[in-house]
């Protein structure tokens, strides 16, 4: 049995955390309440972040865009700012859960759950997002890739919350790509996903590229060697097939109820080939 507390300001939140040592924060509860129902021990206090206006806004800063941790996927999808600057994030969240889950969940919750299949993670990796962590004592900022340590594990400290996700507006990439392979269209946890950002020069060769795969390893998988291999070359089917072969040699995919490692390895390579529009 837990007491559910709903602070209306950050000051109130710090106070409630201090008064209730055995607590967990939640935003939508779409991860936490499912886990508690499945048997995870419930803390004495559940503190809901959903009414904290500071955590519910998307703000444009001079060089960055800051998203409050309790912003819902539906809110991100409705934001012209995100659609203009970060189509890759928009595309990834379009396929998260179902419309109801997208109304209830939060970006912060998706990051904190740090699931191998978390749909916001590959796009946030390629966008080189940072997370802002806040507590009664102050604020610190970490790169997302350094913040996430493993499935369900982050660098968050006792008494801290994830307050904002901060994404740099530059460098600008002309091509944003996200695809997720799941077992069906809606309500499908990723078997493998790929987020990609790239630029092509006047000769159609790759002048910059960032790639990140979801649901392939315990955390997001990046492969600088594969990126390097594609630099300075056009994204032809031949080149991408060779890059996919390189990738397949280099990865050790996870295996779970949704798919085995071999299938994941193959799908990860096939997603890479789809960077060529003729392969889609």
């Amino acid at each position: 049995m837990s007491k559910v507390l709903i602070p209306r300001s950050l000051e109130q939140l710090w106070q409630l955390q201090a008064e209730n040592k055995d607590n967990a924060v939640f935003a939508g509860g779409t991860d936490l309440l499912v886990k508690i129902r499945a048997g995870k021990p419930a803390p004495k206090a559940l503190i809901c972040l959903d009414r904290l206006d500071e955590l519910k806004t998307i703000t444009e800063l001079p060089y960055e865009i800051a998203l409050g941790a309790a912003v819902t996927p539906a809110q991100v999808l409705a934001s012209p700012l995100i659609k203009n600057h970060f189509p890759v994030l928009n595309e990834a969240l379009r396929h998260l859960g179902s419309p109801h889950i997208r109304n209830m969940g939060s970006l912060g919750g998706n990051i904190m759950t740090a699931s191998p299949a978390g749909d916001s993670l590959p796009p946030l990796y390629v966008l080189q997002a940072a997370v802002e962590l806040q507590s009664a004592a102050g604020t610190r900022k970490l790169q997302l890739k350094d913040f996430i340590r493993g499935p369900g594990q982050t660098q968050i400290l006792q008494g801290e919350i994830l307050s904002r996700i901060i994404i740099p507006k530059e460098p600008v990439f002309s091509h944003h790509f996200f695809e997720k392979v799941g077992l069906r269209q809606a309500l499908a946890i990723a078997v493998v996903s790929l987020a990609a950002l790239y630029n092509l020069d006047s000769k159609q060769t790759v002048s910059a590229i960032r790639l990140a795969w979801g649901s392939l390893g315990p955390t997001v998988v990046v492969q600088p060697e594969v990126e390097q291999f594609l630099l300075g070359k056009p994204l032809t089917t031949t080149r991408l097939t060779a890059a996919a072969d390189l990738l397949k040699q280099r990865i050790e995919p996870i295996s779970d109820i949704r798919a085995g490692a071999d299938y994941r390895r193959r799908v990860a390579g096939n997603l890479l080939k789809r960077l060529n529009p003729n392969e889609r």
Binding site: L5, I6, G97, P99, H100, I101, L187
Partner: protein
Amino acid sequence: MLLQFNLNGKDIELETRSDRRVIDLLREDLNLTGSKEACGAGECGACTIIVNGTTRLACLMLAAQLEGCRVLTIEGLGGPDANQLHPLQKAFIEGGAVQCGFCTPGMLLTANALLQKNPAPSASQIREAISGNLCRCTGYQKIIESIQLAANAKPGEE
């Protein structure tokens, strides 16, 4: 805790545990058994309700989260008169969109939220909107047609 919110147009106040699941609060404490529970884990949409204008799942909400909110359940869809049907309900009957009926309350509320935002949705927009509401009986086609029927009927009705 003492919980206050607006339920189907009426302000209500009741004593409850703050971690009572909203689906239990509605069905067990308030006797509103129109909202259904199937999976209890966010997967099926049978427990869909509308909170402050957007769809939410009553199996994944705790009572305290309703404080001060406007809540619409299937019992309130037709308006204050319990015998009055909403155009969507009429269209579901006319279009044969109901078989066992277990998904129907959630489906109707989801469709209602869609039509509020988009009064003339395409078939693919309807499919997308109801993609979190599972139906084991109808194969969805008649549900989609009925939502379109209601969308077309609406201007004349209201």
